[in-house]
Amino acid sequence: MAYKHFILVCGGTACESCKSGALHDNLVTAVRQNGLEGSVQVVKTGCFGFCEQGSVVKVLPEEAFYVRVKPEDAAEIVAEHLVKGRPVDRLLYKVGAGKLSSIDDIPFYQKQFRIVLRNCGLIDPENIEEYIAREGYAALEKVLFTMKPDDVIEELRKSGLRGRGGAGFPTWRKWVFSKDVKADQKYIICNADEGDPGAYMDRSTLEGDPHSILEAMTIAGYTTGATQGYIYIRAEYPLAIKRLEIAIGQARAAGLLGENILGSGFSFDLELRLGAGAFVCGEETALIASIEGKRGMPIPRPPFPAVRGLWGKPTIINNVETFANIPVILLKGGDWFGSIGTATSKGTKVFALTGKINNSGLIEVPMGTTLREIIFDIGGGIKDGKKFKAAQTGGPSGGVIPEQFLDTPIDYESLGALGSIMGSGGLIVMDQDDCMVDVNKFYLEFTVDESCGKCAPCRVGGRTMYNLLVGISEGRGSVADIDQLRTVAHAMNKASLCGLGQTAPNPVMSALKYFGDEYRVHIKDHKCPAGKCKALVTYSILAEKCIGCTLCARRCPVNCISGARRQTHVIDLSRCIKCGECYDACKFEAVQRG
């Protein structure tokens, strides 16, 4: 006999700690006691997120979602919901007052809402027919046959869509600039350079739904009067490149790219341009130089590319995610899109959640969702039950957001006010074991490496800041260093030619703002509380606590801990590489970090 119901019980590590094992067993017992074992299956599942809400139970097929479920609630769920068909109201998850109410058709507990990722993980990206079946190319059809360029712009204006590549410039304005210039040729460029460490939103979108970008770029061409487009993508994305090539071939064969699209009289074609993977080539003027076959270096703006871009012609350059929104906006209307999000930031944002988080992955949430919801409800909280310290948005151009601002609704302005930026969507979660000086050093090393070297503030300033951080992390810092970091940062921010140099100091500045004490402990006490700055850390074993269990000695990767069973162990400091394995391993707090 086939099962009629399935009870899913969260079995993630976070929930294990709140007794989901007992809950599972109680559910199984209750099902048996009610004689339902033939029609109800109880299943342990991976983490649902919502870990702050305790154990989570979902009943299928009706998708009832219970939170904060205790083992003793099992009998009631089975007796009421499964036997009598009445969901247990007091345990059902409820959405906070009014939130998300503007979005219809969203199951009541789901925090994610997919516009950009609407087809990712659903369709076969190498099959144009599957895209078409999900309203693919319906926006293009609508635009070509029922809308004038000004109508398209008006919908984009109403939608409030802003660029997702980092700066958040209103998309409709950029398109108007280009549309209003008279020129014999115009271009559309999709920026798929995606150079931030930790970011892979654009790659996933291109791999999962390449046609949505082709469709949006064609619409941009129609709107501004461009007939040629380029997708600038880094060569390190071979799968995305392959799927784009397949998609372009299919669209051409179907007459959705090329001459006289769908018999409308409008022609547009696309080519890929592969980048070598330099971060600065994501900057729009450097990107254009790179396509022109020149060295990828930024040039001063204005003129903006929308007016004078590729080969001196008006050029729209938008990010992958910006484009991916456009077909949906034109199908559902700008007003609909504008109803999602906050006053200044509309629609959704895709984030790549990484770092010390249980459910790392790609998520899409309405603007205005809080970091707490992202990290705890969707991301399932911090790994290994550790404590949240900060989240970095905007990668090397952004900053850290500490715990006291977890409830800030995310949008361009609120993140800016906190000293970070929205950025392109990398979201790196840090826990108590991460050291701010160390993290800042990592980002500055990245920007110093990636600086094109054209202008002195960035080239010299970045190196200066990096050297100061190295000094601080090695115990050579002085209090005056902090002032100097601030001075150099200010100069870089004001005088660098492009966004790379202008924003490179952001991580340090925001860390000084929220974690200044941690910097001072490094400088004054020569200590690294998180144990990451190796020059400031020594490990030792306390004789009175060591029971000689040998665990640390077995874990030490360089075998520098000596001691026989039941005898005090000793670390040979001359060979210790300060990896901290012994510190984490010891169950008796005998290993000291100082």
Binding site: V43, D104, Q110, Q112, G121, S204, G208, L239, G333
Partner: protein, 136 residues
Amino acid sequence: MKKLTLQDLRDLRERKKAEIARRDTSGKTGEVIIGMGTCGIAAGARAAFDAFVEELDKGGLTHVVVKQTGCMGLCYSEPTVEVRMPGMPATVYGTVTADVARKIVNEHILAGRLVGDHVFDKPAADIAPTLARGAK
């Protein structure tokens, strides 16, 4: 594919939609959809793909198709696979190794039981049905 006219495109869309609807309601066919983005492939999605195809072949289960798709977003549990069988809720499985794939064929597809410990939640609702309707 021949070059489409406006009417061809609309016809194709309706035809594909009808096909999918038929597949969903006929109660006969099933689908195994494997996330094959860079993350999925790196985690072993190809091995899972091959195992599904083999195991389904072995059981003569020609009514179940195996398909690829992009990243579902659950990168911590790659490879991810969605299984849609008539009479069962559409289910997302995570960390699907070749062994788990065979288990899914034998338990989920053949016996109608979910495979415990590998079930994950669908990350988000689908907006496609509302796309066609336009603004409301």
